[in-house]
């Protein structure tokens, strides 16, 4: 999904650049709180890891293949602020050294693959860990799963607003969302496997899942042991709904903000929307019905934020349901 130069018009590229720069600036301040003096090496390592696994292509149905985005993984391992920084650096390095993603599209790329994936991933992660305490791996799976289609929908939306080609946003969103839901499953599996493995041997490395330290033992000359030191206090249970809401609202705000911000640069799109009265029906129809890009010739354009917001909402509801199911199963077991 690395957007090259020339994909978006200049206004969109620059506006996205402003959004990205603002986001990164906020994260630069927040990151220091997350990791103190180890920020740079830790983030660098996660960035390198994300970069490396982005080269792992896995097959998705119908002859396409996807690769890891890594936003959710980064957020879970080093926290959301540092996570955004990691993604920004990955994209920067890819753009500058590997010509992967255009230099003028850096803002778009950071917004879509950094800000959106991290926010969506982290929001879902907090929601699920808040609902079912200790299910970090499940939460990681869902977070990663959701982050991919959300990012794809954001891309579609942005392209519809400020892209250099006219498209039918509904069909493209449906197609993009569908394919990326599948890619999201791959993303979710790899993320869950990685987080699970790290959790098993270095729980201290998973942000927010701080482990319980055993007390140390001192051994005398006779071989007898005396315990010393007090175990560290257990981390406070993450607040259930509030962080999630913040995350979810954040994602929606970013999308909505982008929509209104770019509306002016794309009058044709707006006019088309204005003409199209029954757009909600149409949107639902497209989201669920027309995977095969059947009627692209006929439609003039589809609701702006609506497709995106519906997409986001749908995904959140879905995750909520899955999390709820997971919790009730958990309770039965206990």
């Amino acid at each position: 999904m690395h957007v090259p130069d020339g994909f978006f018009n200049a206004a969109t590229s620059i506006s996205a650049g402003v959004v990205a720069a603002a986001g990164v600036a906020v994260c630069l301040r927040g990151a220091r709180r997350e990791l103190d003096d180890r920020t740079a090496p830790m983030a660098g390592l996660v960035a390198a890891f994300v970069f490396a696994v982005q080269m792992l292509n896995f097959p998705v149905a119908a002859g396409t293949s996807g690769h890891l985005l890594g936003g959710a993984l980064a957020a879970i391992l080093v926290g959301p602020y540092t996570g955004v920084l990691c993604m920004a650096v990955v994209l920067l390095v890819q753009g500058v050294f590997f010509a992967d993603g255009g230099l003028t599209a850096l803002g778009v790329n950071i917004t879509l693959m950094g800000l959106v994936t991290v926010l969506a991933g982290w929001g879902v992660f907090r929601l699920v860990t808040g609902l079912v305490r200790g299910q970090v791996v499940v939460a990681a799976f869902l977070a990663a799963l959701v982050s991919v289609p959300v990012s794809a929908l954001a891309f579609t939306l942005l392209f519809w607003i400020g892209g250099t080609a006219p498209i039918d946003v509904g069909t493209v969103a449906a197609a993009m969302g569908g394919v990326h839901l599948l890619i999201g499953i791959g993303e979710g599996l790899i993320t869950a496997a990685t987080v699970g493995a790290v959790l098993a041997v270095r729980p201290d490395l998973v942000y927010g899942a701080a482990g319980l330290a055993k007390p140390l033992v001192l051994r005398g000359a006779d071989g007898s042991g005396t315990p010393v030191g007090e175990p560290e206090p257990a981390p406070a249970a993450p607040g259930a709904l509030r962080p999630f809401l913040l995350g979810g609202v954040g994602v929606t705000l970013v999308l909505a903000g982008l929509v209104s911000f770019f509306a002016s640069s794309s009058p044709d799109g707006l006019e088309a929307v204005a003409e199209d009265k029954g757009f909600i029906d149409r949107a639902a129809d497209h989201l669920f019905g027309s995977w095969a890009l059947a009627d692209y010739g006929e439609v003039g354009g589809i609701p702006v934020g609506v497709a995106g917001v519906i997409g986001v909402g749908l995904v959140l509801v879905l995750t909520g349901a899955v999390a709820y199911a997971a919790r009730s199963r958990n309770q039965i077991k206990v």
């Binding site: 041997v201 270095r202 140390l216 033992v217 001192l218 051994r219 010393v228 030191g229």
Partner: protein, 244 residues
């Protein structure tokens, strides 16, 4: 004032494995001390505390009178030079030259002085020819030598070496001994090579199961076959402690 003072040091790795169970030792300025012990005894773990790479879970470490704490780390690291057991952990720059220059450059050295220090350190370990090669393209023994050079270039007061002679060819092993003897610094050397310990160090410590099990003149310890055997140590076949 002692160069190194360790009091009741205990440490557990993040995964819960406790490696040190209350280590006590002190080493005077200018002493050369061998640290012996079986695999997994905690030698490397102990050594990593001496310049604050690991932080004591309990107890204290004092280097030349300065306690090792967050706020004293940079001073401590200036004084203690540590050669890691695995040279790949130690070498990280794109060329051998940059790697050896890294420490002195951080200490403020520049230009010709820097070049001279780098050349000197590499010459001592016989790796001057490789100065422009990337470290990860060297043979294992060559990497170990460069690792030693990076630390020599910093001219530390206290030199801590974790199995420096392993993977060195026999001549390099002897040359390293000569270098260490020629320096006027405190040396703590982890080794499984008991003849080497005897050759270089007057005093030896045995670390076993995370505590110091013996401390005394190397010659005395190595003559006590029973003590050695208790800690999985033994003199190699064909070797006899030379009579003075």
């Amino acid at each position: 004032m002692n160069s190194l003072e360790v009091r009741q040091l205990a440490y557990a790795y993040p995964d819960g494995t406790q490696a040190l169970f209350g280590v006590d030792l002190s080493i005077a300025r200018g002493e050369r001390v061998a640290l012996l012990g079986p695999n997994g005894a905690g030698k490397t773990t102990l050594v990593m505390h001496l310049n604050g790479i690991l932080t004591a879970g309990h107890g204290s470490v004092t280097v030349a009178g300065t306690p090792v704490r967050k706020d004293t780390l940079s001073e401590v690291r200036q004084r203690v030079g540590l050669v890691f057991q695995d040279p790949d952990d130690q070498l990280f720059m794109p060329t051998v030259r940059d790697d050896v220059a890294f420490g002195p450059a951080n200490a403020g050295l520049r230009g010709e002085d820097l070049d001279r220090v780098v050349k000197d350190a590499l010459e001592r370990v016989g790796m001057l020819d490789a100065v422009d090669r990337p470290p990860h393209h060297l043979s294992f023994g060559q990497r170990r030598r460069v690792a030693v050079a990076t630390v020599l270039a910093m001219e530390p007061e206290i030199l801590v070496l974790d199995e420096p002679s392993s993977n060195l060819d026999p001549a390099a092993r002897r040359e390293l001994a000569e270098i260490l003897r020629s320096l006027d610094v405190t040396v703590l050397m982890v080794t499984h090579d008991l003849p080497y310990a005897l050759e270089l160090c007057e005093r030896a410590l045995i670390l076993s199961d995370g505590v110091i099990a013996a401390d005394g003149p190397t010659r005395t310890l190595l003559s006590d076959a029973e003590l050695l055997a208790r800690h999985r140590l033994e003199l190699p076949y064909g070797f006899a402690v030379p009579v003075l």
